[in-house]
Amino acid sequence: MNVLEIRDLSVDYLSGSGTVHAVSGVSLDLRRGEILGLAGESGSGKSTLANAVSRLLRPPAAITSGSVVYHRQDGTAVDVLALGGNELRAFRWKELAVVFQSAMNALNPVSAVGAQIDDVLRAHAPRMSRAERAERSVELLQRVGISADRRRSYPHELSGGMRQRAAIAIALALNPEIIIMDEPTTALDVVVQRDILGEIRALREEYGFAVVFITHDLSLLMEISDRIAIMYAGRVVESGTAKGLHRAPRHPYTMGLLRSFPRLRGPREELLGIPGTPPDLRSPPPGCAFHPRCGLAVDECAVSLPVLTPGGDGEVACLLNDGTGVS
């Protein structure tokens, strides 16, 4: 069952030197309790998509088309893009929480971490007593692996990993249905990253929330996610289960990404990488945006825009996989 349905969503940035189509026509489903990985290079629109869903976009960004529908557990549907004022405030954090990349910037530097959890509870659950809030703060911090005596610590007194754990605790405060994690472990070391990923999985088992996990690190995504969507130049080019994508990638871009990672085990395979650079989104190449960098491109790729069609255990947008496209 889907908890979030994104249909044909487009986001533009209006700039002086032309309109940037950061996200164009993206459709995605998030199932209840799953971890959906969103991968792509910088500028592929993955963070813009997350911000659009959480309604955090500000001008010059504008949602030009599409819909985002959130399904409550009781079956009622909510049009996220139409929420206003108090409804939006109630939706955020109670239903959908966000963990940002840099916990140092996401946390308030002049307030202790316990007080920041308290803030969330005071704003969203005004009926809780002071003692109940304190109890809940300690419980949340302990749940993510921070001892109770650190609740009076300020963010600068915590290590990077602890700060990210605190940010996760704040996101969990109201038991949301969806947590969007935008590069939550990028600034962390591999060992700390591994511990936090384990923590996210364990919390997901316990609370049953769905996660949208955004990162550029595809190998990391393949370990943690249930399903993965790959974005390139503002579009989803391939989606599928993590296992399926790893075993049989269908889009040349996914193949290129997989062949760009040095492996630690097994024989030293030759790394092929992807030639060229990502396109300028003010004037994306005609047809398939990936065709100038694609080793398998045919003439048709420069003309027709491939559409997502079922393939493998997901969908793929590549002319080589379906032979048709829209002009």
Partner: protein, 335 residues
């Protein structure tokens, strides 16, 4: 041939703020302790470690950005101490640095031509304006920024991250150095771009005989691009060896933890859950082996005495009591 070498380098920083200890002194941050590392001509050597382990401090000590508390830096076997003036400039002509963030290391107000011409002029390589133009074009070609005319007059903001890093590399090459220290040169770049920049650095080392130190936190990329890897933890070297042997048959428990933690889609079984703790404070580092509080196989001796170097043959060595046969281990008979 060893070009650049650090012998027993130690660096203690004095904290500018924070509580004073006894006698009104602030305790030093023991950033680097007894680090020896050698860079050979035409070879890429990697220095791997978590953030805060002191790998960038080692880079700066080798580049003579600040003096070492103790120990020495040798260039072609000669001890050097060149922190200012003509001696520093002379040293900089031979040892160059490349930084992590190409958005910060290029002046946003100047064109590519300026960035490359300036070192040529300052170090006296350009004879005339015409010669200077030729050399700039040559540099751009060496880092594959072609067509040259198109890139020469671009401003940094008109370039992508990978292209900027190439300009930074070309600028380092302008003075014709013998050693290049690359401090996380690709960690800010997109995955699809990284490979090209690493290949470029590898090619420069191979073809021009540069000694290259590749500093990174990504041990998998070190396996592919370096001939040997040295692993650092909390200011100390803990293991070093040929890259293939080190990644496939690591002996130090920390190196193994690092290898296990790296994301790997090929992994058959998910790694054991659990918390592995975090690196220690360098103001009051743990006694003995600095890894012992987090070590799964710590012995009683580990907390008391820093482990000595154990040679494992073939250039592979480690600082670990567990690898040292002379130390009595509890339950050894049972093994």
């Amino acid at each position: 041939m060893i070009i650049l070498e650090g012998r027993n380098l130690t660096k203690h920083f004095t904290a500018a703020r924070g509580p004073r200890g006894r006698f009104g002194r602030r305790p030093p941050v023991r950033a680097v302790e007894d680090v020896s590392i050698a860079l050979r001509a035409g070879t890429v050597s990697a220095l791997v470690g978590e953030s805060g382990c002191g790998k960038s401090t080692v880079a700066r000590l080798l580049a003579q950005v600040y003096p070492a508390t103790s120990g020495e830096v040798l260039l072609r076997g000669e001890p050097v101490r060149a922190h200012r003036g003509g001696a520093f400039r002379d040293y900089r002509r031979q040892v160059q640095l490349i930084f992590q963030d190409p958005f910060a290391s290029l002046n946003p107000f100047h064109r590519v031509r300026y960035h490359l011409a300036r070192p040529l002029r300052l170090h006296g390589h350009a004879r005339s304006a015409e010669h200077e133009r030729e050399l700039v074009a040559e540099l751009l070609e060496r880092v594959s920024l072609t067509p040259v005319e198109q890139f020469m007059d671009k401003l940094p903001h008109e370039l992508s991250g990978g292209q900027r890093q190439r300009v930074a590399i070309a600028r380092a090459l302008a003075v014709r150095p013998v050693a290049l220290i690359a401090d996380e040169p690709v960690s800010m770049l997109d995955v699809s771009i990284r490979l090209g920049v690493l290949r470029l650095l590898e090619g420069l080392a191979r073809d021009s005989g540069l000694a290259l130190l590749y500093i990174t936190h990504d041990i998998a990329s070190a396996r592919y691009f370096a001939e040997d890897i040295t692993v650092m933890y909390a200011g100390r070297l803990i293991e070093s060896g040929p890259s293939e042997e080190l990644t496939q048959a690591a002996r130090h428990p920390y190196t193994r933890l690092l290898l296990e933690s790296a994301p790997d889609p090929d992994r058959v079984t998910p790694p054991g859950a659990g918390r592995h703790g975090e690196p220690p404070s360098l103001i009051h580092p743990p006694g003995g082996c600095r890894f012992h509080p987090r070590c799964p196989v710590a012995l009683p001796v580990c907390s008391g005495q820093a482990p000595v170097r154990t040679e494992l043959g073939g250039g592979h060595w480690t600082h670990c009591w567990d690898a040292d046969a002379t130390v009595a281990r509890p339950g050894q008979e049972a093994r």
